[in-house]
């Protein structure tokens, strides 16, 4: 996706898709900037929905010109310099996250989703290194006022104040993502101490407040407890509280529901959506679970072997996936209508090792629509196929 194509279409585009394509997939509220017309076809039409719309429409007045991404990733390349050679984990990724919306990044394990997320905060562990690209962060929404985060040093004060302050992150395994040797209160206090000038008592009160807001009972007592006293779901709530307490503009959620059971998953997704509505915050949501994507995302970016293969609004993605990989992913989801003895379609083969990246399009050895002489020779570029969707595939070349 490029800025040129994105910007003119975005306002129309978002209004269009949210009011029009909603019904079957979307039974949920979603924070966004153009939601007003949406209450009618909301399945719930409940308090949360109207509350959200209030927030959304009030946010609408001040919010930047729609289409000005708060986070715009361009040509991001992150490579791992191992003894066996260079692994191109993220290999030229582009996408935009619009203010107040949720961008979902999907892909199989090892396709570079998490590394992309860590690259945004510049917390990629050695031997990984960001080798190229831009990460334009534009909290004000004014054109031309974006900062390229990569131009700030990874350990600079400016970057550290954004990291955890303006762009927060939550992780896949809440049970191991806290230090078991420090109380929860100590760990949230640290975030507040780094990013605010509040007194110790104020920080404590704010921590209690946030624990209450994410739905943890007895928050004052919980502040003094150690993480192993929390359940997995409570820990993920606590992590959300810790990420949210600085009122970030962007929340990066790296598979936050993967380690949780399904009921807890749903609660966490609800919580994230509520947080988004209350705080007018953009979310970059990383998952391999398409069901979760359909619940939470406004836009979807599909990654395969470190590259973006398709990007577009969530409804277009589910209704009319363009890339053969997206199609294959969608057909391999079990459906309620599948008969019980039917074999689930699966994608043949497996993800190649990043060091044995196939020539040409990386997906061609597994592709149903493989065209010999084309797909195994050149690499396709990401290009628009219609007003909303961009695909990197030779099937759509020259359209």
């Amino acid at each position: 996706m490029t800025t040129e194509t994105r910007q003119p279409t975005a306002p129309l585009d978002s209004g269009f898709r949210r009011n029009d394509v909603a019904a079957p997939l979307d039974s949920r509220v979603r924070g966004n900037d153009v939601a007003s017309a949406r209450n009618d076809d909301m399945s719930g039409g409940n308090d949360v929905a109207s509350a959200r719309n209030d927030v959304a429409s009030s946010g609408n007045g001040e919010s930047p010109v729609a289409g000005d991404a708060i986070l715009s990733v361009r040509g991001l390349e992150t490579q791992f310099f191992t003894d066996e050679g260079v692994v191109r984990a993220v290999d030229g990724v582009d996408f935009d996250v619009l203010p107040g919306t949720t961008m979902g990044i999907v892909g199989e394990s090892g396709c570079g989703k998490s590394i992309t997320a860590k690259s945004i905060l510049q917390i990629v562990e050695a031997p990984g290194r960001i080798t190229n690209g831009e990460i334009n962060y534009n909290p004000s929404g004014d054109a031309g006022s974006a900062t390229d985060l990569l131009s700030l040093g990874a350990n600079s004060d400016a970057m550290r104040s954004i990291r955890g302050g303006e762009i927060s992150m939550i992780f896949q395994e809440p049970m191991t993502s806290f230090s078991g040797l420090h109380t929860f209160g100590n760990q949230i206090d640290e975030t507040l101490r780094l990013h605010t000038n509040l007194s110790k008592q104020e920080r404590f009160d704010l921590g209690v407040d946030w624990l209450a807001r994410v739905g943890i009972p007895n928050p004052t007592q919980r502040m003094h407890e150690y993480p192993f006293r929390f359940s997995g779901g409570q820990l993920q709530r606590a992590m959300i509280a810790m990420a949210m307490c600085t009122n970030p503009r962007v929340l990066i959620a790296d598979e936050p529901t993967t380690a949780l059971d399904v009921t807890t998953q749903a609660q966490i997704l609800d919580l994230l959506q509520r947080m988004q509505e209350e705080n007018d915050m953009a979310i970059l949501f990383i998952t391999h679970d398409l069901g979760v994507i359909s619940e939470i995302a406004d836009d979807v970016t599909v990654m395969y072997l470190g590259k973006v293969v398709e990007t577009g609004p969530v409804f277009s993605f589910f209704d009319e996936p363009k890339h053969p990989y997206s199609k294959a992913l969608l057909t391999s989801i079990p459906s309620m209508f599948t008969s019980s003895r039917e074999r689930l379609p699966s994608i043949s083969g497996s993800i190649p090792h990043p060091q044995n990246r196939p020539m040409g399009c990386a997906f061609h050895p597994r592709c149903q629509s493989f065209m010999a002489g084309t797909c195994d020779v050149g690499e396709p570029e990401l290009q628009s196929v219609n007003e909303e969707q961009e695909v990197s595939c030779f099937l759509y070349e020259g359209q």
Binding site: I123, S168, T176, F178, S179, G180, T183, E190, M242
Partner: protein, 329 residues
């Protein structure tokens, strides 16, 4: 916490009892009893011991009683502070041990401090800067320290120091302070003499601890909580010192339990080489002379020291690690 404490005390007491049984068995392993040994030593000096006298000695020490009675008498005497008589030193065992107890404990304490102060920072550096030149240098000297025997390092260092400064670094006190009362001068003299034995005694421990610290920290640095801390905006050193180092210290604390008994039993040869007045040296003399009460007492006390050390390190672990402290509430 109280339940934890009580449980540990009970474990420790049981273990100490078991060690005392083993020590008692060892003492009674040599053929004959100590009266036989006594007769032999008396004979060597030209004195005859009459059969009656031997029998009354056996009665006095209860050597004709059943084994369990002998054990209970022995352990009762020990608990009352009577450790038996050392034939080798011709003095009560207690007096022999007391002579060198302070020196041994001082040496042990300083060695522990030395090991911690040197090994922990180097271990942290080695892990954080893995495969850097500094890491390779630390690793090289670490293995060297592990591999070269103490007494060899001791001899080489002794010669080097004597050759370059003219200071004879043997013993713990210069001649003029040996029997002098404590004073600033004596303490300073002791400190000067301490450096070499502490450094050498600490070498193997330091090398081992560097490896342990490095390996632990390398594991911890990959844990998700480190990424969380990094994503908060902490600087790299802030987060390393607060989180993974805390985790990596646990095994370091448990290792320390074994240093004290090591100072007694592991320092034997070095004590001879450097002429250190430690219990370790007395221990070797007792063993070679089959001085069973003295060697039995040393075995018993090194065992007990290990148990006490483990108990203390358990308490320390519970103090630093809430997961241990709170698990049994």
């Amino acid at each position: 916490m109280l339940a934890f404490f009580i449980r540990r005390v009970i474990y420790a007491v049981i273990a100490m009892w078991a060690v005392s049984v083993i020590a008692f068995v060892i003492i009674n392993l040599p053929a004959g009893d100590f009266v036989t040994t006594y007769i032999a030593t008396q004979l060597a000096t030209g004195n005859l011991v009459l059969e009656d006298e031997a029998e009354s000695l056996r009665d006095f020490y209860g050597l004709n009683d059943p084994v369990y009675v002998q054990y209970s008498k022995w352990i009762t005497r020990i608990l009352q502070g009577n450790l038996g008589f050392s034939f080798e030193f011709n003095a009560p065992v207690r007096t022999v041990l007391e002579m060198n107890l302070t020196n041994t404990l001082l040496l042990g304490a300083f060695t522990v401090v030395f090991i911690w102060v040197v090994a922990i920072p180097i271990g942290i550096y080695s892990a954080v800067k893995q495969y850097s030149p500094g890491d390779y240098i630390a690793t090289f000297f670490g293995f060297l320290g592990l591999g070269v025997p103490d007494f060899l390092i001791g001899l080489v260092m002794l010669w080097l120091i004597l050759d370059t400064t003219g200071f004879l670094a043997t013993g713990l006190y210069s001649h003029e302070f040996r029997n002098a009362p404590w004073s600033f001068g004596k303490a300073w003299d002791l400190a000067k003499h301490m450096i070499l034995p502490v450094a050498i005694l600490g070498t193997a421990g330091t090398a081992a601890l560097i490896r342990v610290m490095r390996a632990n920290l390398l594991d911890e640095l990959k844990k998700p909580y480190v990424t969380t801390a990094r994503a908060k905006g902490l600087t790299e050193w802030q987060l390393i010192m607060k989180y993974p180092v805390r985790y990596a210290l646990n095994p370091v604390i448990s290792m320390t339990a074994y240093i004290l008994p090591f100072i007694i039993s592991g320092s034997v040869i070095l004590s001879f080489v450097l002429d250190l007045p430690t219990i370790g040296r007395d221990f070797l003399r007792a063993l070679t002379a089959q001085d069973i009460y003295l060697s039995g007492a040393v075995i018993l006390f090194s065992g007990w020291l290990t148990i006490i050390g483990t108990f203390v390190s358990d308490l320390l672990l519970a103090w630093v690690d809430p997961r241990i402290r709170l698990e049994e509430d």
